[in-house]
Amino acid sequence: MSNTVISIENLSKAYHLGQIGTGTLSRDISVWWAKVRGKPNPYLKIDETDHGNRDGETIWALKDVNFTVERGEALGIIGRNGAGKSTLLKILSRVTAPTSGHARVRGRIASLLEVGTGFHPDLTGRENIYLNGAIMGMARQEVRYKLDEIVAFAEIEQFLDTPVKRYSSGMYVRLAFAVAAHLDPEILVIDEVLAVGDAIFQQKCLGKMGNVAQEGRTILFVSHNMLAIEALCQRAILISSGRIQQSGPAASVVASYLQSGEGSQILERNIEAEPRRPGEGTLFRLTQLSIVFSNGHAKLWEPIEFVLDFKCLAGKCKVSPSIEVWRIDGVCAFTSDAEDDGMILDLVRNTNGRVRVKIPHPNLSPGRYIVRAVARSGGSLILDWVNEALVFDILPVRNVSVRTNEKHLGTRPRSSWSIEKI
């Protein structure tokens, strides 16, 4: 007997570009009447340029997608923004219908396209657990049976009878994920839920999902977090412009994806107009930040270089720029201060300049890092400060094992081991 739980055949989904319909009823009726008589749409503009997957007025978010998923398999779905990943998940979770093709499913399917959907702010945590559970397809008995487990997982015991509008955003997300994680479906469809919540909770969620996979249930996982994909999924498909570009073992699909594009890394960014900056940015302003790797992407133990452009707006100022590299769990991995190297910029009005800082041995373990750029004046006065200016991944090198739990987040200095007889 075949173990296929999801079978997708020639699945396509078209979206209409621009405004839906013509906006008014009378025009829509004349368009419809023209269609009935087999005449072309009288209001259709002639579109000379054909942009890839664009087809006249429609865009194919998915085009002739075929794949199958076996029972107990964890399938990662990766691709750039707009590639069609979310459309695929939406069709699978029946939020929208395909334009053509079939998707057949065996077993109960539950999707976490966004946590906390259907929470009512005025209702208490307990009431929302029941409501949310029911929306996701759980019977009331089932929720009652799992209530304690859900509450414990979300760590909200004390606030169970408080309206959720008084919850902190962290509590809200924890509760939402907890309900979803206890659905126990045969097939779990997950879209980027791990992007929310603090890192410790993220680890907990990943752990929970790992358990789900080990219990023989099937997971479809869409994420930009390549490490999570590699950790959780055996197989992955890469979607590009609505078509399956590649399908195979997760590690090789992830590798070719990272080579083809940059994932969701931000390696270069104009930060001149960035609005949310704690520093004043009126005397001295950071304008551009980029990170340079020797081979296009950062690998373990390879040097990295940051390039910082700035603009001095005040009459005279002394500036010490610095770079902070943060782990995704909110712990600083390292900082590098120009002052440490004996460099203090002594600037006059209207000078533009560029500083570079090379870090020969970053020793960052494989994972995702966030860069903050700070400029201080002499002592500790902050002149400018841009948070999350860049995002980059450190990739593992061959022959180095990657651990997926929190342990791997420490530094990983290149070290030499030797053995002696005693």
């Binding site: 075949s2 079978s7 009823l25 829509d28 093709g101 079939h102 065996r106 966004e114 959907t117 029911a134």
Partner: protein, 290 residues
């Protein structure tokens, strides 16, 4: 042996779910709705509880609303305009109309917002979409029952003060009247809700349309007093027999005949079927347009 193989083959061919573009127009998947009955009841409860959180008077509003409308009608149409009320105490005359009408009106206005107000939810998770309009019918029914009891109390009060009221066996038709109203509200409501995903204008028209429709029933004026020129409009309105029969059943004055009731019932069936077909079509892809 071959039996087992056959079974296995059957199992292999069996899919729990087949997601494809088209499906039967009349397939409302009521089985799914039945499975989601817990959800329907939770929606009912949510609507009921959440509306009056952070209000001072709370559920009392269910009584204040019809009472205020009745008082206003009694004053304007009864005392100022001096419209006839079939010989009934004008307060009871207007209250009976208001209570009945408000059930229909809430059903239709709330149902017509189904897709717009729930678009965030519908866009994220699948559950039988009909659960929302059905839960609206039920939660409005609870409000109706409360108001109805209130109405009966007023009847008792007026009877004690010597008004001549003649409740009769037509009272037994009450469930049928409620069914027709629920059906009409649901049908019209889901037609509008399906169309509002494309044409938002309809949303504004509904409020206005429902009020206009009320003047074309006998909520304000008894059938016997309508000028002949407009009589056909009132008779064509499927809500007219409902209001008339309700009033006749509980107060003993009004125009009652079975063909009119049959007309309303048939009208309701047609509207529900059209609504179901449109809803079914829109439900599948409305997330792309809303």
């Amino acid at each position: 042996m071959s039996q087992a193989v056959k079974q296995m083959e059957q199992q292999q061919d069996h899919w729990d779910l087949d997601i494809s573009p088209q499906r039967n127009l009349l397939d409302l998947r009521l089985g799914e709705l039945w499975h989601a009955r817990d959800l329907v009841m939770l929606f009912v409860w949510r609507d009921f509880v959440s509306v009056y959180k952070q209000t001072i008077l709370g559920p009392l509003w269910y009584l204040i609303q019809p009472l205020l409308t009745t008082v206003v009608f009694t004053f304007i149409f009864g005392s100022v305009a001096k419209l006839p009320t079939d010989g009934l105490p004008s307060f009871l005359f207007y209250m009976s109309g208001t209570v009945v009408w408000s059930y229909f009106a809430t059903c239709i206005t709330k149902t017509s917002d189904t897709f717009i107000t729930n678009s965030a939810l519908f866009g994220k998770v699948y559950f039988p979409r009909l659960a929302v309009p059905v839960s609206i019918l039920i939660s409005s029914l609870i409000a109706f029952v409360i108001q109805f009891i209130f109405f009966v109390l007023f009847m008792g009060f007026f009877a004690l003060r010597g008004s001549v009221l003649q409740p009769n066996w037509w009272i037994l038709m009450t469930p049928v009247l409620i069914l027709i109203m629920a059906g009409l509200g649901l049908g019209f409501g889901i037609i509008v809700s399906a169309l509002t995903t494309k044409y938002r204008d309809l949303r504004f028209l509904v409020q206005f349309g429902v009020t206009l429709l009320m003047y074309a029933t006998t909520v304000i004026m008894p059938l016997s007093s309508f000028p002949n020129r407009f009589l056909w409009i009132v008779l064509a309105n499927p809500m007219t027999p409902i209001v008339e029969i309700f009033r006749y059943a509980y107060l003993g004055a009004g125009t009652v005949n079975l063909p009119d009731l049959a007309y309303s019932f048939g009208f309701m069936l047609v509207v529900v079927v059209i609504g179901a077909v449109i809803f079914n079509r829109v439900e599948a892809t409305f997330m792309d347009t809303v």
